[in-house]
C-alpha cells in the first residue's frame, strides 16, 4: 500500500514554496522550543531550589537563590554515606558492563554463525523467550534463589544483570552479525585462525558500533535500576546503590524538599558529568547500532 514512489505524487509547482518553508520552519522551531522548555524547566527548578533553605524556598519557589548556599550539599555529604553509594553503583555497573561487553557479542557470534544447527537455533529461541516475559513473574523466585545461594549482595546483583542482559543483547547482535559477510572469516580460518582469534581479529572490529550501543543502553539500565537493588541489597545501608539513596528521600526528607532536591542533584551528578563529556559519542553510539536493529 505504501510502496515508495516519489514520482507518484506530482506537485503543482516546480519551485519550492517559500511560504510553506516558512510555516514548516516556524512549526519546527516552536515544537523544539516547547520541548526544550518542558525538559529544562523542571531541572531548573530542582537546581535553583537546592541552594535555598526551606524558608527561602517556600517564600519564593521560582526566584533565583539569594546566594549560592551550599549548606544542603554540605549537610548531605556529611550525614549520608554518599561516596559509598557512588562506589557501590560504580562497582555494579562497571563489572557487569565489562563482562557483558565481552560475553554477549561472543555468544551472539557463536549463535549467528551456526544458525543451521539445531542446538544454536534452539538456544536463540530459548533466549528470545525472555522478550515476552514480564519482570514481575520472576522477581520473587529469583530473590528466593539468590537468598538460598547466599548471594544477596553486589556480586549476586552483577550476576543477575549479566543474565538479564542476554535477551536484548543477543537479539541485537545475532541479527547484526548475520548481516555481515562471512567470507573474510572463512579466509581467516583457512589461514589457521581459531574461532576466538577470528572473533578478536576480525569480527570485533566490524561490530564495534553495535557494542557501543549495547554498552550505553545497559549502563543506563544498571546505573538507574531500582527494583532489583531494593530486593537484593536491603540488608544494610552500606550496600545501597544511588537509586536507593534517592528514593530514601521521598520519605526521610519529605518536608525539607530543598534537601530532597539536593539529594537528587548530587546523585545525578556522576551521570551528568559523564554525559556532558561524551554526549556526542553516546548519541552517535546509539544511532550506529539502532540502524540495523
Amino acid at each position: 500500500m505504501t510502496s515508495v514512489n516519489p514520482k507518484m505524487k506530482v506537485g503543482t509547482s516546480m519551485v519550492h514554496n517559500r511560504g510553506e518553508t516558512f510555516v514548516w520552519h516556524s512549526l519546527r522551531n516552536i515544537t523544539l522550543a516547547a520541548g526544550l522548555l518542558l525538559i529544562l524547566f523542571p531541572m531548573w527548578l530542582v537546581l535553583i531550589n537546592c541552594f535555598k533553605s526551606l524558608e527561602e524556598a517556600s517564600q519564593s519557589f521560582f526566584a533565583l537563590p539569594q546566594s549560592v548556599n551550599l549548606d544542603n550539599v554540605r549537610e548531605l555529604l556529611q550525614s549520608q554515606n554518599y561516596f559509598r553509594y557512588v562506589g557501590n553503583s560504580l562497582l555494579v555497573t562497571c563489572v557487569s558492563m565489562a563482562v557483558v561487553a565481552v560475553f554477549i557479542p561472543l555468544v551472539s557470534y557463536a549463535i549467528a554463525r551456526n544458525m543451521h544447527r539445531g542446538y544454536y537455533r534452539f538456544l536463540y529461541v530459548y533466549i528470545m523467550l525472555g522478550l515476552f516475559i514480564p519482570s514481575q513473574i520472576i522477581l520473587l523466585p529469583i530473590v528466593k534463589q539468590m537468598s538460598s545461594l547466599k548471594m544477596l549482595n553486589s556480586w549476586g546483583l552483577i550476576l543477575l544483570y549479566i543474565t538479564f542482559s542476554l535477551t536484548r543483547g543477543v537479539f541485537l547482535f545475532v541479527n547484526y552479525i548475520r548481516a555481515l559477510p562471512i567470507e573474510i572469516e572463512e579466509a581467516a580460518q583457512i589461514d589457521g585462525c581459531t574461532v576466538v582469534q577470528t572473533y578478536f581479529r576480525i569480527v570485533l572490529h566490524l561490530i564495534k558500533p553495535m557494542i557501543s550501543t549495547l554498552v550505553i543502553m545497559d549502563v543506563l539500565w544498571y546505573w538507574n535500576d531500582f527494583q532489583l537493588p531494593l530486593f537484593l541489597l536491603n540488608r544494610s545501608r552500606d550496600m545501597w546503590t544511588l537509586p536507593l539513596f534517592q528514593y530514601n528521600f521521598k520519605t526521610e526528607y519529605s518536608f525539607d524538599y530543598p534537601m530532597a532536591f539536593t539529594a537528587y542533584i548530587i546523585s545525578l551528578l556522576p551521570v551528568l558529568v559523564v554525559y556532558c563529556c561524551c554526549q556526542k559519542y553516546i548519541i552517535s553510539g546509539l544511532t550506529a547500532g539502532a540502524v540495523k536493529s
Partner: protein
C-alpha cells in the same frame, strides 16, 4: 614479669577473639520518619555504651513493609525487627512460626497491661514488645482557636460543626486535608467511621464472611460517607491533589485550623513549624461517651524465630534495655508518641483530651486488626472515589464490590 606478659597476651587473645565474635546484629526498623530514626539511634548509642562487645546495626530501607515481607518469604529474616502486632499480617507471620514468643521475659511486666492485652496473638501469648501507642485525632492550632474565641474542644459532631462554622465566619479555613494517597484518606475514614458507627469493623467482618452486605446497612454507611463529605466542605482547596506532607505543612503554617491525622504526624508537623501551639482532641461522634478513640500499638519490637541463639540473646538484651523506663522515656520524647511502658510520662498537656479519652477505655483498634490489608486497601479506594465525585449511592455499591474483589 613473665606472668604479667602471659596475662596480657591472654587478655589480648580474649579481646581479639571476642571482637571477632562480635558479629553485627541487624535491627530492621520500619519507620523512615526522622523522629523514630533518631529515637532508635539515641537509645542504641546508650545500649552500645553499656554493652561494648555487642554491635547492633539499624537498617532502615524504603518500602520497608514490602521488603520485610519479601525477606521473610525468601527465608532471610532480620534477627530483630519492628512490626505492628495488632495487624492480621503480623498474626500471619506468627502463625507460620517466624516470630519468637516473648512470654516469660521479665521485661514484659514493664509494659502497660492494656497494651499487652491489645497486642496478644490469638493464642493469648505475646510476640512483640509494644513500645509506643498511636491514635487518630483532630490536631488543632490552639492559637487560632483562641483568637476566634473557641473555648474548650468539641466533644460531639454538632459541636465540631459549630466550631467549623465559627471559624469560617471568622475567615479561617477549618480543615487541611491531603487526600492524594488513598492510605491517608483511609486513616481518616477508619477514625471517623468508628467514631460515627462504633460497630463498623465488626459489620465489615460480617460482610467479608458473606453474612451480610453493606447495602443491607446502607443508612449507617451513608452517614459515615456524608460526614466525610461534610468535613471536606470546610477544607482548603485541591485536597485531592494534596500529599500528606503538604497537608501537614499547610496546617503547621496556619493556613487551616485543624487537621485529621495520626499521632505519627505530630513530630513532622512540629519540625515544619516548631513554634506551633499544637493541640489534639478525639474525633467526635454523636455522643461523647459512646464514640471510641482509634488507638493502637504503633511501634513494637520482635525477634525472628529463625535467628541464631546468639542473635536471639542479643535481641532479648536490646528489648530489655529499651523497655527500661528511662530509655523508654528518652525514646518517647524524641519520637513524639506516647509510650506503652510503665513509669513514663507523656509531657504534653495540650494533648490531654486524647489521653483522657484513652483513659476512659472507650477505644477501638485499626481495621487491620480484624480484616486483611486487601480489604482495607480496597475500601480506601472507594472512599477516595466518594471524595472525588460525592456520589453516595455509588459509594455504598462500591463498598460491597470492593470487599468482594478483595476476597480473591
Amino acid at each position: 614479669m613473665k606472668k604479667v606478659l602471659a596475662m596480657v597476651l591472654a587478655l589480648c587473645m580474649v579481646l581479639t577473639a571476642s571482637m571477632a565474635m562480635a558479629e553485627k546484629v541487624e535491627f530492621f526498623q520500619q519507620k523512615m520518619e526522622e523522629g523514630p530514626q533518631r529515637a532508635y539511634a539515641e537509645v542504641l548509642a546508650r545500649f552500645h555504651a553499656e554493652n561494648p562487645d555487642i554491635e547492633i546495626e539499624i537498617n532502615t530501607i524504603p518500602d520497608a513493609g514490602t521488603v520485610l515481607m519479601q525477606r521473610i518469604s525468601t527465608g532471610d529474616i532480620p534477627p530483630i525487627f519492628s512490626d505492628y502486632p495488632t495487624q492480621t499480617q503480623f498474626k500471619g507471620k506468627v502463625n507460620n512460626g517466624y516470630i519468637e514468643c516473648l512470654e516469660g521475659n521479665e521485661f514484659l511486666s514493664r509494659v502497660n497491661p492494656g497494651m499487652i492485652e491489645l497486642g496478644k496473638h490469638y493464642d493469648g501469648q505475646t510476640y512483640a514488645l509494644p513500645l509506643s501507642q498511636n491514635y487518630m485525632a483532630i490536631f488543632y492550632n490552639i492559637d487560632i482557636f483562641e483568637q476566634v474565641g473557641i473555648e474548650g474542644t468539641p466533644k460531639t459532631w454538632e459541636e465540631l460543626i459549630a466550631v467549623c462554622d465559627k471559624l469560617v465566619a471568622a475567615g479561617v479555613v477549618p480543615f487541611s486535608f491531603g487526600d492524594k494517597d488513598a492510605g491517608r484518606v483511609g486513616h481518616c475514614f477508619q477514625a471517623l467511621s468508628q467514631a460515627t458507627y462504633p460497630g463498623v469493623v465488626d459489620y465489615v467482618v460480617s460482610v467479608v464472611n458473606g453474612e451480610a452486605t453493606v447495602a443491607d446497612n446502607a443508612d449507617a454507611f451513608r452517614k459515615i460517607g456524608e460526614r466525610m463529605l461534610k468535613l471536606h466542605e470546610y477544607a482548603l482547596p485541591d485536597y485531592m491533589g494534596t500529599a500528606d506532607t503538604v497537608m501537614w505543612e499547610n496546617f503547621a503554617t496556619g493556613k487551616a485550623a485543624m487537621c485529621i491525622t495520626g499521632s505519627y504526624a505530630r513530630g513532622t508537623i512540629l519540625i515544619s513549624n516548631p513554634d506551633l501551639n499544637l493541640g489534639a482532641f478525639p474525633i467526635p461522634g454523636d455522643v461523647y461517651d459512646e464514640s471510641p478513640l482509634l488507638t493502637g500499638i504503633d511501634a513494637a519490637l520482635c525477634i525472628s524465630a529463625e535467628a541464631t541463639e546468639e542473635q536471639k540473646a542479643v535481641g532479648l538484651k536490646f528489648l530489655e534495655f529499651i523497655s527500661r523506663p528511662e530509655n523508654a522515656q528518652l525514646w518517647s520524647d524524641i519520637d513524639g508518641a506516647p509510650s506503652c511502658l510503665l513509669g513514663t510520662t507523656y509531657s504534653d498537656p495540650r494533648v490531654a483530651p486524647v489521653i483522657e479519652k484513652a483513659a476512659t477505655g472507650v477505644v477501638c483498634d485499626w481495621f487491620g486488626s480484624k480484616v486483611t490489608t486487601q480489604v482495607t486497601t480496597e475500601l480506601y479506594q472507594v472512599v477516595q472515589g466518594l471524595l472525588l465525585d460525592g456520589d453516595l449511592d455509588a459509594y455504598i455499591e462500591g463498598l460491597d464490590e470492593a470487599i468482594e474483589a478483595a476476597a480473591l
